[in-house]
């Protein structure tokens, strides 16, 4: 019995190891927003040089001041239509050989996330990183990964985001990106960056959320002066791109969001 148990344990261990160390296949999750629902494109299985990682994280349980349920906010915001539009934009505007569907990745202590060196995280003002996840995020970024954040607004969401990032990098500064930084020039020269409001602007006409009146493009740099974490605060590029095919959403905001997204991807691939 002991021998059989040992064999089962060993096999079980090998299977677990294999799962943890293998590159995970494409997985489709249910969208939490009706507008963001999108069918799989016909070429979703086509392999490509570049894939956009979409960070799946655990949402925090804090209660928002406006009384909304925090469960509404989370990693699936704008998913997957926002991702698919972004990827179509990249394919249309650049020579990046992008896969037409995103790859959902997790900080789950497996090696999967390292297969996707570019990860996009949304509504990170509602995330909750534990120490292990933070450790893996740090390791991922220092090995060469890039993390782009978007669609979180105001002081309180910033503070929640920073609680997580302080676990990742306790001593690295978050700085406003200088206009001369290549991240604003690698494909498009984007010297003027206006607000990019979310879809709520269509109904409310208010271009900001909470107390996030001023758009902020911030970053955490590595020791070589390269952006590791591109933090887009008080802007909602995800919505802008997701709603870019809606005639009611202003074209100038959508175009800017596409250009900034392209620049961030190209910056990562060149730095």
């Amino acid at each position: 019995m002991r021998l059989r148990a040992a064999i089962f344990l060993t096999l079980g261990g090998l299977v677990t190891w294999g799962i943890l160390h293998a590159q995970k296949p494409f997985l489709s999750y249910e969208s939490t927003e009706d507008h963001a629902i999108a069918p799989l494109p016909p070429d979703w299985e086509r392999q490509a040089e570049w894939t956009r990682g979409r960070l799946k994280y655990t949402s925090s349980t804090w209660e928002h001041p406006n009384g909304q349920n925090t469960g509404r906010y989370g990693w699936r915001t704008d998913y997957p239509l926002g991702d698919r539009h972004t990827l179509q934009g990249l394919l249309r505007l650049t020579r990046v050989d992008a896969k037409s569907v995103e790859q959902v990745v997790e900080l789950d202590n497996s090696s999967d996330i390292y297969n996707w060196p570019f990860v996009y995280g949304v509504e990170v003002g509602h995330w909750s990183l534990n120490d292990e996840e933070a450790d893996q995020m740090r390791d991922y970024l220092l090995r060469g990964g890039f993390f782009m954040t978007d669609d979180f607004h105001g002081t309180q969401e910033w503070d929640i985001f920073m609680q997580g990032m302080r676990k990742v990098f306790p001593r690295r500064s978050v700085v406003d990106i200088d206009n001369k930084d290549p991240i604003f020039h690698v494909v498009y020269d984007i010297d003027q960056r206006s607000r990019i409001p979310g879809a709520q602007f269509i109904y409310s006409g208010i271009p900001w959320e909470f107390d996030g009146f001023e758009p902020k493009f911030r970053a955490i740099y590595d020791d070589k002066g390269r952006v590791m974490v591109g933090i887009c605060h008080n802007v909602d590029m995800g919505d802008a791109i997701e709603w870019s095919d809606d005639p009611q959403y202003p074209e100038n905001y959508a175009s800017l969001a596409y250009r900034i997204s392209a620049n961030y991807v190209l910056y990562d691939l060149t730095h």
Binding site: E49, W50, R95, V96, D97, Y114, L142, V187, K224, H271
Partner: protein
Amino acid sequence: MFEFLFKYPLSIYRQGTFIFLAGWPLWLMGLGVLVAAGVLGFLIWRQGSGSSRMGVVRRASVWVLQTALAFLLLFLIWHPALSVSTLKPQQNIVAVVIDDSTSMTTDDENSTRKEAAEKVLNGGLLKALQEKFQVRLYRMSDHAERIDKLEQLTAGATATHIGESLKQVAADASSLPIGAMILLSDGSDNTGGVDLETLSEIRRQRIPVHTIGLGRETMSRDVEISNVDVSARALPESRLGATVSFHQHGYTGQKAKITLREGSKVVASQDVTLKAEGTEQVETVLFNAGDAGVKTLEASIDPFPNEENPRNNRVTRLVNVDPRKPKILYMEGEPRWEFKFLRRAVEDDHTLHLYSILRTAPNKIYRQEQEDGKQGLTNINELKDGFPTKVEDLFGFDGLVFGSVDAPYLTKNQQDMVKQFVDRRGGGVLFLGGKDSLSDGGWAKSAAADILPTTLPERKNTYSFAGADVELTPEGRDSLITRIEEDPNKNVERWKKLPYIRTFQDPGDPKLGAVVLANFVPREGGGAKRPLLVTMNYGRGRTAIFATGGSWRWQMLQPLADMSHEMFYRQLLRWVVSDTPRHITGSTPKSLLADESHVKLRAEVRDKTYLPAGDATVEAHITGEGIPPEVVNMTPEPLEQGVYGADWTAPKAGSYYVEVVAKRAAEELGTDTFTFRREDGIAENFHVEQNRELLQKLSAETGGSYYKPADAQKLGKDINYSQAGITVRETRDLWDMPAIFLLFLGIRAAEWLLRRRWGVI
């Protein structure tokens, strides 16, 4: 034995001419043999026809034996003899050349070689020679010098140049009747042997050189470094390999340590197990070239306590660590992770200056420059029009990297320039795998197809987005490009443990002369093993294919501290550029002169477009320790366009620094520097075993003989036969040599034995 059977030594047969003294025509002997054969045949046939015991075969056997006997008798009646030329007594000079180098002090158990030489000469040989000839004594070092008596030998000379010395003695023969030379030596020549020119010069004068070999042919307990091969030029902080060749006697299976030192600093060491007795063992010791400057590197094997000659356990080499920063242009056709991680891998390599052009959008490029860890273009106009269109601009780089770029993106002229970049410029080009690379990018039909190290497949769709494992080939195991672990065995294992590559591309089959350093094995689908990393030399340059765009996983999928991805790409890009020449390349065949003073200087001169410049004025500015600076004019080499040479003599031991300056009218074509070093008192420490092969070859080629000291007294007799000096022709009878008598007896005995066996006596 030969002399007993054939009456005279073999040397006489070699020199002499075979003749018949009877003076009758040879056809008559032939006719006699035929008649004898006929008569004997008739008689034997008739005698045997009545006997049942003498069948056809037996009668034929008897006939053959008796006919042979008849031929032998006729041969003797014709009076065979040898015609030889012999030295006329008292009218010829015999030159006795005695090795006077320090290797003659080697103790061969009972006595030194110098003592053995004196014993041979004083044991009767010198006296025997003096009775018939005038004897001239010479002592030999790097030249021959006449001496009056043996007491003048010192065995203190620091070099042995046998060829040069014999040539000098032979030169005396043009005015003196030198009939023969006797060389007493261990054959330990510091120039690597006697060249063909010297041999033919001695042969022309028909002077036989008799050699007496001194010393043991193998040592009992010795380790000797026979060579150290290390690149004469290197980039700063390069990983270099010193290939140490050595052999040993008496220590098979024991452990030894190879140490590389720069001055007193140990730069590398490696433990080795000594292989079989006398076997040439080759070990490569890796070391870091360090900062720029000339490095005097000493390779040594720690002497064993009872080693007979510990002086041959160390060898010095010079390595010129060049402070230049080779420029590499990386052309990438699409933004992808391989581009990002390649650039990151080499960013801390301060010797590489990396430029890149990336096609970001259908009509946009993004230019970057990476030097000393700094990013950003120094010159805003650099490469603003994309890939260079002028030879001068492209040839300003030392290496090129093509990523996922389709060949038609370059014009036909640009493709041709890429080919010339390798062939004429001497640059290196690396092709990476990608969806627009190699076959899929149309490179098979491009003007640059010749330079590729593989014959690309005819088909498209050779690039796969699937994982593949990587394994080193035996060549990859020894290559510095793929060495990510110091220990070769650990390195092979390390490669096996690397994360799989995310993409691979079939590069086709390697061309003749290409070297496959690594293969990939697809993880799924049972695909066959195909070449991953292939290198090849082409023209003056070199090319490589790294058939993947997915090695970035080696960076992302391994711990942060792991440097294998960085090391691999740095070593690969350094290989691409480290041997790329400049407009002027100065060199010398030997950067270390061991007890030599003569040095050959060489310069290869190219113009601005790297075409050979045959009309340049080339000077070598030589400076050395304690000597005034000297300018040597270099002259064009007759058979090599754009190559200039000069001979120079290093007046004393020390390091010399040479700056080659080439001009064409007022235009300076460029400069280059190199170094060499003269060291005295070391050459005789090596090859102290008797080089019997050299001595035998020397005597055989000149009509002389090789003797062991114990047989040397025979020389007194053999030396008479020579075609040089004042000679007289003599004939020597051959009819009475024992071999003929024995043959006669043998034939008769054979017939008697056969008949006895058949019962027909």
